[in-house]
Amino acid sequence: MLLEVRDLVIDYRATRGRVRAVDGVSFDVPAGAVVGVVGESGCGKTTAVRAITRVMPSSAVFASGSITLDGIDLVPLSEREMKKYLWRDIAYVPQSAMNALDPVWRVGRQIEEVLVDRGGMDRKAARTRAEELFAMVGLESKRLGDYPHQFSGGMRQRASIALGLALSPKLVIADEPVTALDVVIQRQVLDTFTELQKQLNLSVILVTHDISVVAYVCDYVVVMYAGKVIESGPVAEVLDNPAHPYTMGLYNAFPELGGGDRELSPIEGSPPDLLDPPKGCRFRARCPFAIEACVSDPPEHQVSAGHLAYCHRALEAGALRETAIKTATWVGVASE
């Protein structure tokens, strides 16, 4: 296992108290695999993966948990030691990568800066490597001399990916890498990305709210809701046989890339307030299948090899899926 995250707990200090944004999250990233972390806005997915890089907002508090990269526990490392791993082993393609490039420097200069400053290359080698990287992500090398504003959104995204791959990291964390792009460009960038991932045998964590992106590129998926993992496993397994009602709902709420004319049904309501999270299953207020048992913490249920779900009714998942496909099931659930 390249990366193991265990029982990660991250709090945010807020004026009204501590918000537990990530509450006991565990997942693995096997070498050479793409793991999708999916969930709606505010579910803690970005916070969880940012904790791996340790670059977090100043209000974030690392409460507990362990993060092991290639056998090395990253949590007890000092800032200085941690910096050695940043970008060389763990690269990050940030959310809104559109704005992740400094507007006052030429794009090539920014890639070279990372290569020279972090990779210890000389200017000339860095230049050659930058051209190589641009070729890899499908950009012309003459565009290295351009400023970020002269790039289109898709090109900026490609440049960000090139920057992420600069030092051949073991792990690339891509946070909503294609969210700001239109679907046509999304597909092109994702194709380039997948191709590179296979070619370089990269391990990737892909954070997204778009389950169709997960279906398109990921090998494994971790579904998060209100700071907790509610279901995880191999993509085909989880998406074909979702065992948690939230995953079923999420799947129903997105159109499929491959077409199909099924009706879309939104999940009504909104996630709970994490300042005062409800006891038991956090999804129960929006869940059409909630029963009395849901007031207590949901048990871990192994659906199949590697496929875990945290739901009291995971055993009845097959029957629930039948009902979940019907749009009417999801209407008027979150009445409060």
């Binding site: 890089t53 670059v55 910096k83 050695k84 940043l86 970008w87 690269a91 990050y92 940030p94 959310q95 809104s96 990568a97 559109m98 704005n99 992740a100 490039l101 400094d102 507007p103 006052v104 420097w105 800066e113 990372v114 400053d117 972090r118 960000s160 920057l163």
Partner: protein, 306 residues
Amino acid sequence: MQHADTIVLPSRSAQLGAGIIRWFKRATAIPRRDPFAFIGLLIFFAFVLIAIFANSLITHDPREILFDENFDLARNLPPGGEHILGTTFSGRDIYSQLIMGTRGALLVGVTAALSVVTIGTVIGLISGYFGGLTDTLLMRLADIALGVPFLPFVIVLAAFLGPSEWNVVFGIALLLWPQSARVIRAQVMSLRERAFVEAARVTGAGSWRILFVHITPNVLSLSFLYASIAVGWAILTEAAISFLGFGPSDSVTWGQMLQDAYASQALGRGQYYWFIPPGLCIIAIVVAGFLISRGYEEILFPKLKD
């Protein structure tokens, strides 16, 4: 069939040539957008040229007391002839004083502007980026500096350190930095939350590197704006201090010329050629500074134009 090795890269000199053209285009971007700023730049460069070649432009030593062929004091001569702008009450050449005064004015203006903007930018950057206690301390210091009355402070400073144009520079640097520091601090506070700064942090770049390599270039245009305003301020202050008689006695400045003219009652004698030229020069260079800053402002905040 294309081969990679047949691609001809532009030569070094061609690249340099293209670089110069690009630089020239950018340098002329201001006049093409804003004729007022262009006029400001022209005035400013005219003064710079005059200051550089002052030694060959003057007709007399500006400090020398002149006599005519009858060995009488050549005082209060009207413009024309040997003395382009006439002579003063004590027999000095006004034109030469005016030319030499450009040097003093520019020296004070530019050094004061540089120090104001350097201090203001560095403090604004540190205060805005690190925040917390550092920010609180620096900003309270800024409040104190803003609370000190400007002209009396410079006069007291001159009284303590002896009259010199450097006191004016020192006083301006000490009291005028808070304005630029505050604006730059606000800008930095917004910049430090931008995605590219976060991205730089994830690459493992240190705080100082991020501050000086990624944030500073983004606020430099604001610094220039404040510099062009500070030039005018510094020259006005120097003139005021000299006019009040606290200026240096061993150099020639426009403020001193005005003081001399005032003390010698030039107005009463109708010697307009004595005090109007230095006054016009002060107005011209201050206006030039404001015109340039206005042009900058339009480039920085294009929405203001509507």
